[in-house]
Symmetry: C2
Amino acid sequence: MSQYGTLEERVRRKSLLSKVMKPEDCVQFFKPGMNIGCSGFTPAGYPKAVPIALADHVEKNGLQGQTKYNLFIGASVGVEFEDRWASLDMIDRRWPYQTGKNIAKGINTGKIRMGDKHLGHFAQDVGYGFYTENGRMDIAIIEVSAINEDCGLALTSSCGIVPELMMVADKIIIEVNTGQPSFEGMHDIIMQQKPPYRQPFLITHATQRIGTPYVPCDPEKIVAIVESKHRDKGRAFAEMDEKSEAIAEHILDFFHHEVKKGRLPKNLLPLQSGVGSIANAVVGGLVKGDFYNLTVYTEVLQDTMLDLFDSGKLDGASACSLSLSEDPGFPRFFDNWDKYFDKIVLRPLSVSNAPEPIRRLGCIAMNTPVEIDIYAHANSTLVGGTRMINGLGGSGDFLRNGYLKIMHTPSVRPTKTDPTGISCIVPHCSHIDHTEHDLDCVVTEQGLADLRGVAPKERARLIIEKCAHPDYKDQLLDYLEMATKSCLERGVGHEPQLWDRAFKMHLNLERNGTMKVKNWDVKIDLCE
Amino acid sequence: MSQYGTLEERVRRKSLLSKVMKPEDCVQFFKPGMNIGCSGFTPAGYPKAVPIALADHVEKNGLQGQTKYNLFIGASVGVEFEDRWASLDMIDRRWPYQTGKNIAKGINTGKIRMGDKHLGHFAQDVGYGFYTENGRMDIAIIEVSAINEDCGLALTSSCGIVPELMMVADKIIIEVNTGQPSFEGMHDIIMQQKPPYRQPFLITHATQRIGTPYVPCDPEKIVAIVESKHRDKGRAFAEMDEKSEAIAEHILDFFHHEVKKGRLPKNLLPLQSGVGSIANAVVGGLVKGDFYNLTVYTEVLQDTMLDLFDSGKLDGASACSLSLSEDPGFPRFFDNWDKYFDKIVLRPLSVSNAPEPIRRLGCIAMNTPVEIDIYAHANSTLVGGTRMINGLGGSGDFLRNGYLKIMHTPSVRPTKTDPTGISCIVPHCSHIDHTEHDLDCVVTEQGLADLRGVAPKERARLIIEKCAHPDYKDQLLDYLEMATKSCLERGVGHEPQLWDRAFKMHLNLERNGTMKVKNWDVKIDLCE
Ligand SMILES: CC(C)(COP(=O)(O)OP(=O)(O)OC[C@H]1O[C@@H](n2cnc3c(N)ncnc32)[C@H](O)[C@@H]1OP(=O)(O)O)[C@@H](O)C(=O)NCCC(=O)NCCS
Ligand SMILES: CC(C)(COP(=O)(O)OP(=O)(O)OC[C@H]1O[C@@H](n2cnc3c(N)ncnc32)[C@H](O)[C@@H]1OP(=O)(O)O)[C@@H](O)C(=O)NCCC(=O)NCCS
């Protein structure tokens, strides 16, 4: 028993107590090739005890590479699960997002087949049965806080795709987490019907509740109840740096400007913000700033949100997960439970990331890309157009449907040999996840380019002028002028590009460790 | 007076009769540089009399290039308006879509600044005031069937962005079209509030009505009432050809398969289909096929929809416009008015193309791209990545939010010297409007690739195998293998590409008139 109560107290559906077993006893339920669905989201609320037991089993018995599974989880989970599984060669397919050095290596060397999807699509598509041959999951592993008398699941720090898994899973293993307080009551669950029977999500305010706190679960499908005391392995935040603060300042200035112009209300609109140090800095800016009665409608709530709550400026927040750091995030949250609990609503991914509420509420979407091009296409996923980092996440859900769609990035990143060797503003993105039709603003520490109502060639000038690093301004301008001249002469110049050299900066990075090119000349021999 | 009634009968708000004037008398209201918003959509329901009078005025007085306007219209309008204006150099900015040889030429030679936007975004963004300095339109020209006693506008063959224009226009000119029957009662109009006050669109069936038949209009803003007898200049359909029919057959087979698998109901889900001969053929296939009680939730209704109604298989259709051909489409429609009228709902663009109903209803989205790449990114707008054809239209609204997202294209197109000189399947799209995260199926006359749940490298194989033309299969496979080998070796192979030759097919087309390359060799000298 723990300070947070016993398993018996948490499992109020008493008939289930006969199914209690140890994590290692669950190994029997798994067969190679199975499709496994789990709770969890960027790493919060994922099962830990059973996945760890499975990994131990593989390691102890030298079964690496002989027991591969297909993993379908709302977003990334902790390193002790997916990254360890990857290093033990236990993953064949992984949908739709991941984090970790080993799993990324598996994906980029061709060992793991990853599918990268809009998270908001993924959730519903699992319910539609689009990902497996028979449309079902062989087994689902779900972390819960409690199970009520009706076999309703009270989830933990995230909702992920649990409602959809309940519809398609053949067997269910439940991990009851007694190593932390129960999150019972924080979730707002609705079970969606499939088209043509779907109903509206009647959310007209960020934290409005439209469902119940429990995910209905068929008790006959439950094959095991396991007690777990593992905490979510959320990492502490990247420190704010000067660049991030400069970016945050540009964004806050822009908000003030929009309020003055009458295009934003005084308390802004519900905020969505991505992950990393820039998102962090923007929230930091709001903590110190003079906007009040803010709301958040987003995907993940991270540590700095606690600061924003503490500042008294944030009225409430809706998200798919509470992705606090293991330390100091969660301990701080647990110690101040009453202060935060009522102000947070956790929703299933299929609601948190659905176009419907995002667009109706008019979210302000802010995310960090890998690179952006002069016409405002953005790459969120593949370095050099081929190497997967984490995945698309919900960036597209929010950047397509928000009221204002903002991408923020440092203007440059260092390479081993050149502190400004990578320009995050390029002639043409090496992979495109968000198109020019989606983005409203691009921001770097250099400045903010407001692209609304601006045609491509002017947009390019604006982005170069406002956002590119001084080391790259002339170079990019040269490219734009050269491409414009050539394309207009040929009458093909709506959005000028020269395909023999559009990627010269990328190729130069590959070969010479920097995107700084000496000139734009290039000789191509097609060798025919 | 005409067989369809008099102006006096159509204008039931009697005080407006004092503002009746001739089209040429409206020229006084226009000043160079003005922002003009119009009714109309792919070319239906646009004003004609006043735009023609303005063009005549410019032509007669040799004012070409001295009287440029910014044009904001839901989608394309007839050649006698935007294309003639372009040839008279009367357009500075044009948002968000267009059709016509002269306007395309103006755009691609840098004379006209075009902004290409998701139509569903454009509508709301006009209401948000994102496109002009002060957020307003100087003048709006609206074609109507009638004006009721409350100054409610009964529109004609489309709704476009009229509701938003009512919110932002300073002056309004009304063209009352007495040259055709009144469409009064066919429209379902709701005036949306801006966030945070937006309300749900409670549409749970394709043709469900949620509004009123009239657009509320402030009579004091109306500066002129003009009578018009011009008909919409919709072009007759491209004839079906063998390729289109083969594509349609693959799609219908796929529908049958999905019904069998239980992933589609027997009467399918609401259909959205694009423009052109393939869309035509798909509808043709449904006319002959064995699906009943179909519904359509789309953007434009074209001539073949009348066949589908006549077949008794289509229960009802919702769209933003009734884009029938001038002949035989509209005469056929008018002659059988009672047969069609009750089954059609015309909605504002901001509703027809909103993610909310498209996703809730679960539309089956089908559109034709310029090219698709092996990883399933699609180019809908820019030939060679730089030359604008028409624009994105609503393709993204539907391809992002549908239940099934299908792109169909011939596998090849001819060049002057090679009947299969252009492969519509390429290693990497020269422009990306729809990402790999959005598309479910790619179809050519060769076959259908079902990409759901398929990871990138397998996806590439599937698309090449099922969809590429035999003339290009080996060539594309060679590229894929070469790129895969190189990227996996370097541990950067989630989605293999080689930037020194990814566009070799495009460059070869430019230089040698065909995408058939003799080999994949390429020597690049970065000239540094
Ligand atoms: C794109 C993304 C990784 C950037 O976040 P970040 O905190 O700035 O990322 P980091 O600085 O840690 O960079 C991650 C890696 O990508 C590399 N990278 C990033 N941009 C690069 C670029 N333009 N060129 C080359 N490498 C780049 C970094 O060097 C680093 O490489 P490493 O893992 O070998 O050290 C992150 O925002 C992301 O995953 N986005 C997609 C999902 C998303 O938007 N979620 C939010 C809404 S749900
Ligand atoms: C992309 C699109 C033009 C294809 O439609 P289509 O009927 O097959 O087009 P066409 O065969 O008439 O081709 C149009 C032009 O593009 C050229 N073209 C098309 N694909 C090409 C390719 N892959 N390479 C080079 N040229 C190409 C054609 O040769 C033709 O050129 P021309 O005007 O000089 O003769 C059309 O679907 C479109 O505009 N789509 C965007 C909007 C949309 O999807 N709307 C529907 C939902 S709202």
